[in-house]
């Protein structure tokens, strides 16, 4: 394949991955790494480096919008970014030590798990019963409110079970650094299921956090030579374009179509990566 053809194919694939990630709520990185390694034969470390760069690009692109809508809670994001970054730095350091096959195996399990978590369809509206206020949430003012256009009124919230959420964020950070993904599915789960934050706030705040988390490990990847400009460049631009298109396409799809597409894509990629980790190459 000539360089021009490679660049064009990579860009087009990244647009598709970005669109698919936006439609399925998984993020470009989670889909990108297996696609680059399985279909392009790109080295796993280069794929992870490119994925991290694309996560930062999409996070930076969407952050302003969520902030303007009042959905991102900066205090919650900063508080939870601390354990997440520590985890990400640890994970990124481990990449240089953990064998590639083990990384592929972990990746396959992580995608499958992220798929299962997303299928659980966490609450989309504010919780009916509020748990008791966590002392840490009170102390660090982990609360807020936003106007929900779908409900037609303000929604106020306070974080619960902060310690559990912090622990989960550390784990999400390790996965992010180890696998070169944003781990958005895991951070949203931690905020929604553990800390009982409204889904929209969890998603918007997660978008704010994944950029910071990815940046924490991206420097280590760059210094180690895992960010190949010929791969990361077109991928970052493509995923950004794709994510924009994906949100437009999603509006025209039914929930059933999205669900079916989600199941097929996620479990196919998960199974393929697990098999690669076990030494079975499908392509």
């Amino acid at each position: 394949m000539t360089p021009i053809l490679f660049l064009l194919t990579l860009f087009a694939t990244s647009v598709g991955t970005g669109a698919l990630g936006a439609m399925l709520g998984l993020g470009g990185g989670t889909l990108l790494v297996p696609i680059l390694t399985m279909f392009f034969g790109i080295d796993l470390h280069y794929a992870m480096g490119a994925s991290l760069v694309s996560v930062i690009a999409t996070s930076s692109g969407a952050a302003a919008g969520f902030l303007w809508l009042g959905l991102s809670n900066i205090r919650v994001g900063l508080f939870l970014a601390m354990p997440t970054i520590v985890g990400a730095l640890l994970g990124a350091t481990l990449v240089g030590i953990v064998p590639g096959r083990v990384l592929e195996l972990i990746f396959g399990v992580a995608i499958g798990w992220a798929g299962l978590l997303t299928l659980r369809q966490p609450r989309l509206a504010a919780a009916a019963a509020r748990p008791e206020a966590d002392p840490l949430a009170v102390r660090f003012a982990l609360r807020g409110s936003y106007f929900d256009h779908a409900l037609g009124h303000d929604v106020t919230y306070t974080a619960a079970w902060v310690k559990r959420g912090t622990g989960a964020m550390f784990g999400a950070g390790v996965l992010s650094g180890l696998l070169g993904i944003g781990a958005g599915a895991f951070t949203v789960l931690a905020m929604d299921s553990f800390m009982k934050l409204p889904m929209k706030v969890s998603t918007a705040t997660s978008n704010f956090m994944i950029g910071i988390t990815a940046a924490a490990s991206a420097g280590i990847f760059f210094g180690r030579g895992d960010v190949h400009p010929l791969i990361a460049g077109p991928v970052a631009v493509g995923v950004l374009v794709g994510a924009y298109l994906g949100t437009r396409i999603l509006a025209r799809m039914t929930n059933l179509m999205v669900r079916r597409l989600f199941l097929v894509v996620v479990f196919y990629l998960s199974l393929s990566m697990i098999l690669r980790g076990l030494g079975v190459r499908l392509f």
Binding site: T2, P3, I4, L7, V53, I56, A57, S59, S60, A63, I74, R75, L78, F79, A81, M82, I85, V86, L89, A92, F140, G211, I212, A214, A215, A216, S217, A218, G219, I220, F222, G223, R224, G225, V227, H228, P229, L230, A232, G233, P234, A236, V237
Partner: protein
């Protein structure tokens, strides 16, 4: 990034492979792929050559992108400081230090 990618495509043409000979020599000594830059100094050296290496332009774009979240956290730090919220200004400061640790790997 886009500028660098277009520059690479123009340099290489439709059929040819393109890697700057100077990069090939430098990287062979260090046992690395010639297309990959791993530090600011590396990229700066490539910018000083004429014509400028397109992949150095792409890498510059990537490095600038990597600093975007850092700039965001610095802005948040300033806002909390101006509002007198020392607790969250401190948290933002901790995050800035953590991000600087990561960026230090680029600035070897």
């Amino acid at each position: 990034m886009t500028l660098g990618i277009v520059g690479f495509a123009v340099r290489g043409g439709l059929k040819a492979e393109y890697v700057a000979e100077a990069r090939r020599v430098e990287s062979r000594r260090e046992g690395r792929a010639p297309d990959v830059y791993t530090s600011i100094a590396d990229v700066a050296r490539a910018w000083r050559r004429w014509p400028v290496e397109p992949l150095a332009v792409v890498s510059t774009g990537i490095m600038l992108l990597l600093t975007t979240p850092f700039a965001g956290v610095v802005a948040v730090f300033v806002v909390f400081l101006l509002r007198g919220d020392r607790r969250y200004a401190s948290i933002a400061a901790v995050l800035i230090v953590a991000l600087l640790v990561s960026l230090a790997f680029i600035n070897r």
